[in-house]
Amino acid sequence: MTALGKLLTAVIGLTVIGGGLAAYKSQKLGVPFWEGERVDEWLVEAKVSFLATGREVKARLSLPSAAAEQGAGQESGSLGYHYNVEPDRDEYTAVWSAQEREDAQALYYRVRFKQGLVSGGEPKAALEQPGKPDVPKLPGSLGAAAQNIVTRAKKVSADPDSLFVALFQQINDASSSQEYVLVKRHYEKEAEMNPNIAMGIDLLGLAGIPARLAYGVMLNDENAGQTPIPLLEYYDGAFWKVRNPLEPSRILDGRELFVWHRGGGPLLEVSGGVENSRVTFTVAKDRIPLATLTDLSDSPFLISTILALPVSERAVFRYIVLIPLGAFVVVLMRNLIGIPTLGTFMPVLLALALLEIKPLQGVLMFSILVGAGLWFRFLLSRMNLLVVPRVAACVVIVTLLMMLMGVISFRLGMSVGIKITLFPMIIIAWTLERMSLIWEEEGKRSAFTQVSGSVFVAVCAYYFMKISQIQYWAFYFPELLLILLAGILLVGRYTGYRLSELIRFKSFSNA
């Protein structure tokens, strides 16, 4: 087969495979192909972590029953552990167990649900009438004070809901009455959990309303590894209701908060040879419809399994899948347009840095860095250093310049300066080295042409990678990268003129 035949076979093959996989995913599995069609879904991941000391381990994590009952997608990840879900009437518990584990362990449990559909905090009919709550034992004057508080609150409230509001408004109020301050101080000293909630539970108990602790997760994908938020569940005579004690008068909003655990039992129980056990939550907004998730992660195509990774690991790929797109732009710019760049893929790295910093500020910072670095580089060249030590010296200088810029811009109240560290330092040092070499060998004009060519290509790559539809495809349809690969292969055989050559040969005339 000729080279061209091989190329065409490869291009057609890649296009068919990439396009076919994408079509399968979008038609059969229902992953929306256009970003606008996406369904916003929340993915909440609980991560149980602890230090195992070499003996058998058993971990029990209470699960959101709302998600379990309504068939929300759920999955667990735990290598080497036996895992099962224990239903107990309307409560569900995930149980992991293993023998002889050592070192840091991590267990994952993921739930996903449509935005706003379930908060898990809806009023729930009690399966059986809860008994009269225990009257808390408070010593002497404290008991009287607590009783006074409850009596007063009862006077201004009609039902358990308004009593709850009245009590917690007082508890949260820093300038509340002496009695509150007195009782609060006691709970701050004694209580094992959040004192406000412990106090609330006891006061509600005094008023004859059963109450217990619940836990929720903020639906906010910006802070990874958040700790569970304590909530309060109380019985109003017919239903168990959940409210956030910090906002007692608000009904829970399913778009902001997801109730992970209710029912009074412990959220996490770890037994055996275990230290430092804790549970943290990571929340991500996802765009794959619920029903297809399990299909996707079970689907035989390896490429799809990027979606089965733990949420925190997946975030890394958001950037990695963009690199081929940048490389594609570089190929187009160099081989079709003919823009000279310093180093073939330096613009891609620069573009990645620009994604974090705004492009205008980024280019400005880059220019300052290169300008100042170049000046130092010329000082260095007077000392007649050898190449490698000189580049290393440039790295040191670039690092110091970055710190300096960070400090200066912080003082001026700009936050971009701090992000400057994202610029690949070694790349900048090499840019300086090559630029000054070209400066000496070919003159400053070529040096500037090539550096500004690189920056131009980087900015183009940035704007290409910035298109949200492109990002969406790259992340959710990584198999489309095969089609991109086919495109790159085709450009690799392009023998026509570069745009720059049309200008270069403008005065060509026949002899």
């Binding site: 085709l490 026509g496 050559e501 060509f508 002899a511």
Partner: protein, 342 residues
């Protein structure tokens, strides 16, 4: 992806308003101009196997091959291999007044230092700038560290004979030594040019730095056309001397030398740089496996017009000998000769 859609539009060679800024792809194709992509995909990649590149990228190997063929090259005075040698660089040039230090793996003339004479302890470059022995050592150290080599690999420094260019050629150049580049495909010389430096190019012969490219007729060795910054000129901008109609001396030897370089390296598409010494005649300087495209502007002929007949001829007669190849090129690539200079 060969394009076939557009029809040539500039056959009449008439001037169009857009020629001030650009030419359309159709026009360039009609002129047979070869672009970088086409050079790489159609001529470099299929004909120059990667493993042969080292033969020409390493000047020591090129020289050894050429000497084995009995070709004239610049005499080697010494090879500096390590920092110890760098410290003794003066020993290597003892008794020599003029010499050249160059990296063995340099490209594009980078890192070449030419010394014309001595002034006391110091050395003098052609521009008159004095170089101290310390500068010389530093330069050698930079070469050894790979500053000028392809890909920054560690390198050796080569000290060799300083070519004394024939007077005929120095007359065409502002300082610097003009060299002749012959581009070949499958051993058929397809185009040649003389590169002469100007004040602007500062002794260097890179066209984009302002050197003049002077096209040479393959058949006769007569200069036919000259360009400076892409525009045709007839006189040297600094010296005012006529550049057209100059007969290159020993033209047949030069062609032979070039074709022999092709045979000894095995590269299909290459450029050979040759200098003409006043007393020794043509000397092979270096072989380039990626010759540039400016040569077609210097000759005013698209390279494709020369390369395509060669491809055809090579297909018909794959075993032609040197004489047959030169005869073919001379017959088919004869330029319209301008009147000879005085």
């Amino acid at each position: 992806m060969p394009d076939t859609a557009e029809k040539p539009t500039a056959q009449d060679d008439g001037h169009r308003w857009w020629h001030r800024w650009f030419r359309t792809p159709g026009e360039l194709r009609a002129l047979g101009v070869v672009g970088i992509n086409m050079r790489n995909a159609r001529f470099l990649l299929p004909n120059n196997p990667r493993r042969l590149y080292d033969l020409v990228d390493n000047k020591l190997r090129t020289k050894a091959l050429a000497e084995a063929e009995g070709m004239n090259v610049a005499e080697t005075y010494g090879i500096l291999l390590n920092p110890h040698d760098a410290n003794r660089v003066e020993k290597f040039v003892e008794g020599r007044d003029a010499f050249v230090i160059k990296p063995t793996r340099g490209s594009g003339g980078k890192g070449i230092m030419v010394i014309d004479k001595r002034a006391g302890k110091n050395f003098v470059k052609p521009s008159g700038v004095e170089v101290t022995p310390g500068d010389l050592k530093n330069h050698v150290s930079n070469i050894l560290a790979g500053l000028f080599s392809l890909g920054g690999k560690r390198d050796y420094a080569l000290i060799e004979y300083r070519v004394q260019p024939a007077e005929l050629l120095t007359a065409l150049s502002f300082q610097g030594a003009p060299d002749i580049r012959v581009v070949m495909l499958h051993g058929y010389p397809v185009m040649a040019m003389l590169r002469a430096s100007t004040k602007e190019s500062d002794g260097r012969s890179n066209l984009h730095q302002g050197a003049i490219g002077i096209g040479i007729d393959i058949a006769t060795g007569m200069t036919v056309r000259a360009i400076h910054h892409g525009k045709p000129v007839t006189e040297h901008p600094d010296l005012g001397i006529g550049l057209i109609g100059v007969q290159m001396p020993d033209w047949d030897t030069i062609l032979h030398m070039a074709v022999t370089c092709q045979e000894m390296t095995g590269l299909g598409y290459l450029g050979v740089d040759i200098m003409i010494d006043e007393t020794l005649g043509p000397l092979m300087i270096e072989v380039n496996a990626r010759p540039g495209l400016a040569i077609q502007m210097a000759n005013g002929i698209g390279l494709l017009r020369r390369l395509e007949p060669v491809v055809e001829q090579h297909r018909k007669k794959p075993t032609a000998d040197i004489e047959a190849k030169i005869a073919f090129s001379k017959k088919h690539f004869r330029a319209k000769l301008p009147p000879a200079r005085d």
